[in-house]
């Protein structure tokens, strides 16, 4: 058995490898390739979206022929990224062919914030081997009102 070389589908996918590395792979359908013509070079763009929801181009790669994946290195933790695969028109306009999913790179540092507790539902397994289920109420949440760092210092 062999894996198919392609599925004749259009997809551009981003995956987080590490907080600072994003992997990307893509496939273009026959129709997309045909519409692309012979002389156009594919370009892969990585965007980051700020807290103001504005996306800016962070990196742009002119893809060597026959590439179908790419690693973006030196991205930042705790950022939102997406990519576009496209090409430049004769007037210098960028035409995206595909747009990827959004990924969020994970946080790599502790963060302070408001501390909140809730009471979780639990099932007590009695030592006499009898199962006694005890409902302890759903999220009787209360706000501590302290930042977590405060609490660490206080305790």
């Amino acid at each position: 058995m062999e894996l198919p070389r392609h599925y004749n589908e259009n997809r551009l996918v981003l995956m987080v490898q590490e907080p600072t590395i994003i992997f990307s792979y893509w496939e273009l359908s026959r129709g997309q390739w045909e519409s692309l013509g012979d002389e156009r070079f594919l370009v892969l763009r990585l965007y980051t979206t700020g807290s103001n929801r504005v996306s800016t181009v962070l990196k742009e790669v002119s893809l060597p022929p026959f590439t179908n994946d790419w690693y973006f290195r030196n991205v930042l933790p705790e950022h939102t990224y997406h990519a576009e695969l496209g090409y430049y028109g004769p007037e210098g306009e960028f035409y995206p062919l595909l747009r990827s999913n959004k990924v969020v790179t994970p946080r790599t540092r502790p963060v302070e914030g408001m501390v909140r507790f809730l009471k979780v539902k639990t099932v007590i397994l009695d030592t006499t081997n009898k199962d006694t289920a005890e409902e302890q109420g759903d999220s009787n949440a209360f706000w501590g009102g302290y930042s977590s760092m405060d609490l660490v210092h206080r305790s």
């Binding site: 894996l3 996918v13 999913n101 507790f117 099932v123 007590i124």
Partner: protein, 938 residues
């Protein structure tokens, strides 16, 4: 009361390896070796502890593939054959080493152990190790949990459906073996990604584990670090792995297993002795493998090895147990001083470490448990579930992605040696969800094919393949397995698509990959029509639906929406009462396709002034609702559509206490791009009030959700996005041919626009684009359907741009007219500047016409650029022209997009799916307990 606790967690997993098609298989030995060296010795240790009255607590995670292999009769039989061969090897070894004072006792020891294992397996357990674990669980000293169906690595899956299936199938499989679902869940490789907790909750799981930094980098930083569990916002508890206890066991250099007195794993007679001698015991008689006969101790870092001395190793195991205990005592004393509860040290390990790699590991566990029980009072062993019941107050945190792999994230399972697998896996995930959506009630061979497809996908997802591909050994086997499962999945998916299933091929697959015999493929459905044993029975609701318009009266899209939604809810089993305006020729009460329609009397609505009329409408609705309640009983909830009926909804909520749900279809602010007149302000205020009073607010797109939560100052959690649906049947009337994507090849290059002629619909942008399109595609014609205040201006622009021969204004069209227009279209274009949802785009997709839309509002959320249509930035005629030209110029491209769009319409925008989502939202508003787990029993 101890000063603190230790939760020792052993995670036992092996990939599902079973090859009935071959007389023997090298890789099946992984399982056999683990049985002999880990699982059976571990069971013996635990039973010894129970027998001796040692008070201990241990958590064991048993993966579904491991359970499946333990329960498999063929593997049980093959294991006995394997044991028999190893015993013969042991006997040969005793003969061979006779006279060697250092090696002979070791050969005798191995032989004796093998005989013990054989006796235990055949006589005591009678092949049923799962039963032995069950007995331990009943003793109350061992808590059993499980993991994903095939140990799929969750952070690298793309869809929620794929994650749900991995978790759900795992939980159900465990439940079948142990009579109920587990309390806790082991995430494969500790791989967590945001959202996993929702799925765990869906299947009744109360806790899981993450790697140390997965908890320490949570937001906010946990007050007690990893020494107490925290809780996700949804109430599922999370335990963080303690790094110190982990290092003491795991670390290559400093960990206990590296002690020079312990047995050396890498010196096995399978590699050291003459091939001719070993031949009878090796796979195929030629392949050198580990035999388990290992005669040396680690000795030192160099190649020189001294013979193994079991009695010395045992002493070291005792010392290491004492050291481990001492370290835990120090830890809890150090941290307990700063905590309001006894600290908990969570120490999870791979079970296969104990006995296989670390030969003395089971002994160490034995000694550790005994020491903790008899030698001290500072710490006690505990299971996570029990700790939670003692200390259920948990800090709420938001977890980041993490895993326990090298580097702490996804590197091990995603790197240049294995990254190529994901394009196949992700494609299969999406295809499986589509298959489940498209075949909700499959039976017979089709059902078997769907179940087998799900099985093959699950098997391909096993984290083991990605892991092995990265290593130097067994790469070929992992590649072969991955390729076979994906290959089988693709074959089945293709056959299901074509409607012809080769039963002989299917049967062969079922024979080879027969894990999860009870699997139900519908767990992959986005529609969640799945009725597995873990999902509670659906409780029907009685809904009072308020809408000012209802068919046959339709002014905007509202009537159609309420009509489709009500019918779909009724099909799901809910009872829906619609209260609405009178329509000439319609009775005050009628039952229409299962929906109870109650209409006001015409004389109740006689005001000329708009707002007065609205007041009459609401008073009438309240009155009529009173009668409906008297006749039919109290509803569970009131659902109001838009501000016009807000007052009635609020009144019913206040008077009777019914929970109120409001759907906001559009806002006054959005329609007018601001609030200017007094009337607009009044309407805006009514919208504000309605959304404030409602328990939950529904809207049709993320864009609208943002707008609504901003305008009406709502917590984003309170706003639920449920897209509008489209019923493809409504798009066929009036056509001469059934819709078919292939027709695009034969049509004239007609561009169609449908919509009101107002500036925000953006027809002016399309006109600007037209000149350049018609320059490239001969015979291009634009058909503009709709009326509106902007019509004259647009006609003027057509003149100015010299486009008169190419543009035709066809005026207002009804449903039939729309369908006929779409039948002529090569492409439909919606260049809006503002659009809350954009149902017309969905209608075009349902009519098999490719679309180009402006990337704005809800419209942008419907289309996936380059996959099922194109999106141009709003107000950019050049980009719009480019994409329209591409679709006109390349029919194959247009047909591809059209096909994908159609698939989207019948899966994601299906009314049944939307009704199910709405029902879930109702349940949330009524605050009913959601899935009533296990009530239906097994």
């Amino acid at each position: 009361m101890p000063e603190g606790y230790l939760a020792l967690v052993l995670h036992a997993h092996l990939p599902f390896v079973k090859h009935p098609e071959m007389p023997e298989c090298l890789e099946e030995r992984w399982f056999f070796e683990a049985l002999t060296e880990c699982y059976i010795p571990l069971l013996e240790v635990l039973q010894g502890l129970v027998r001796d009255g040692v008070s201990f607590q241990l958590t064991i995670s048993l993966s579904p593939p491991l359970l499946a292999m333990l329960a498999d009769p063929l593997l049980q039989k093959r294991y006995l054959n394997h044991l028999e061969a190893m015993i013969q090897l042991g006997e040969a070894e005793c003969r061979r080493t006779a006279g060697d004072a250092s090696l002979h006792p070791l050969a005798l020891m191995y032989l004796e152990k093998l005989n013990d294992v054989q006796r235990a397996y055949t006589n005591k357990y009678q092949g049923d190790l799962i039963g032995a674990f069950r007995t331990l669980q009943k003793s109350g000293k061992v808590e059993l949990i499980t993991t994903c169906a095939t140990h799929g690595y969750l952070p690298l899956m793309q869809t929620r459906e794929a994650r749900r299936a991995q978790i759900g199938v795992g939980v159900e499989f465990f439940a079948r073996h142990f009579g109920g679902p587990p309390d806790g869940f082991w995430l494969p490789e500790c791989g967590y990604t945001p959202g996993v907790e929702e799925l765990l909750k869906e299947f009744g799981i109360s806790y899981f584990f993450v790697e140390t930094h997965g908890l320490l980098y949570a937001d906010p930083v946990p007050r007690y670090g990893v020494f107490a569990p925290a809780s996700c916002a949804n109430g599922v508890a999370v335990f963080g792995r303690d790094p110190e206890s982990s290092r003491q066991v795991w670390d290559r250099q400093t960990g206990y297993p590296g002690d020079f007195f312990y047995r050396e794993f890498y010196r096995d007679i399978g590699y050291d002795l003459d091939l001719d001698y070993l031949r009878p015991y090796l796979p195929a008689g030629t392949i050198r493998v580990d035999t388990g006969f290992k005669y040396y101790r680690i000795t030192g870092p160099g190649p020189h090895k001294e013979p193994y001395r079991p009695e010395l190793a045992r002493e070291r195991a005792a010392e290491h147990a004492a050291h481990f205990l001492f370290s835990r005592q120090q830890q809890v004393l150090r941290h307990g001083a700063k905590m309001d509860r006894p600290p908990l040290v969570v120490a999870p390990y791979d079970a296969e470490l104990f006995g296989h790699w670390w030969y003395e590991g089971p002994q160490w566990i034995d000694l550790l448990c005994r020491k903790i029980c008899f030698d001290q009072d500072v710490i006690q062993m505990i299971t996570p579930g029990r700790y939670l019941s003692l200390h259920p107050d948990l800090q709420v945190v938001d977890l980041p992605m993490s895993s326990w792999g090298k580097g702490g994230y996804n590197h091990v399972w995603l790197n240049p040696s294995n990254d190529w697998i994901y394009r196949h896996l992700h494609r299969a995930e999406a295809a499986m969800a589509d298959l489940a959506d498209l075949h909700p009630d499959a039976a017979g061979v089709k059902k078997r094919a769907l179940n087998q497809a799900a099985r093959e996908l699950l098997l391909a997802q096993s984290s083991d393949w990605a892991f092995i591909l990265r290593m130097e050994t067994a790469v070929d086997y992992a590649r072969k397995r991955f390729t076979e499962h994906i290959g089988r999945f693709n074959l089945l998916a293709e056959q299901l698509e074509n409607g012809y299933i080769d039963e002989a091929v299917l049967q062969e697959m079922e024979y080879r990959d027969n894990i999860f015999s009870q699997l139900d493929y519908r767990i992959y459905s986005r529609h969640r029509r799945y009725n597995g044993i873990c999902v509670g029975t659906r409780s029907p609701l009685r809904i009072l639906m308020l809408s000012w318009e209802y068919p046959p009266a339709t002014v905007g899209g509202l009537a159609r929406h309420v009509y489709d939604l009500s019918r779909a809810l009724v099909r799901l089993g809910d009872e829906v009462h619609v209260i609405t305006c009178p329509v000439p020729g319609e009775k005050a009460y009628s039952l229409q396709q299962g929906v109870h329609v109650h209409r006001l009397l015409p004389e109740q609505l006689n005001a000329k002034d708009f707002l007065t009329w609205v007041g009459q409408l609401n008073r009438g609705m309240i009155e009529l609702a009173g009668q409906v309640i008297a006749d039919w009983g109290a509803p569970h909830l009131v659902h109001a559509h838009d501000w016009m009926v807000g007052a009635a909804g609020e009144h019913l909520h206040e008077q009777y206490g019914f929970p109120l749900v409001a759907t906001i279809h559009a806002t006054e602010y959005g329609r007018n791009r601001g609030i200017r007149t007094g009337l607009q302000r009044r309407i805006h205020e009514k919208e504000y009030q309605l959304t404030q009073r409602a328990a939950l607010v529904i809207c049709c797109s993320n864009y609208m959700a943002e707008e609504i939560s901003r305008l009406f100052e709502l917590d984003r959690e309170k706003v639920k996005v449920i897209p509008n649906g489209v019923d493809p049947a409504n798009l066929t009337d009036g056509r001469t041919l059934e819709p078919d994507c292939k027709d695009l090849y034969h049509r004239d290059p007609n561009i169609v626009f449908l919509g009101r002629l107002v500036p925000e619909k953006g027809v002016q942008v399309l006109l600007e684009a037209l000149a350049s399109i018609s320059g490239r595609v001969k015979g291009t014609r634009l058909l503009v359907a709709g009326r509106g205040p902007y019509e004259e201006y647009l006609k003027g622009r057509v003149e100015e741009l010299g486009l008169s021969p190419k543009v035709q204004f066809v005026g207002f069209v009804d449903d039939l007219g729309r369908n006929r227009l779409l039948e002529m279209a090569r492409v439909a274009v919606f260049p809006s500047l503002y659009e809350p949802f954009g149902i017309v785009a969905l209608e075009a997709m349902a009519a098999r016409v490719p679309v180009v839309v402006a990337d704005t509002g809800g419209l942008g959320e419907i289309v996936e650029h380059g996959v099922d249509g194109y999106k141009a930035p709003p107000g950019r005629p050049d980009m719009l022209a480019h994409y329209i030209t591409q679709l006109l110029f390349y029919p194959e491209l247009a047909v591809e997009m059209c096909r994908r769009a159609w698939r989207k319409v019948i899966t994601i925008y299906d009314w049944q799916y939307i009704a199910e989502e709405t029902h879930q939202t109702y349940c949330r508003a009524v605050a009913r307990p959601v899935a009533s787990l296990w009530r239906r029993g097994l």
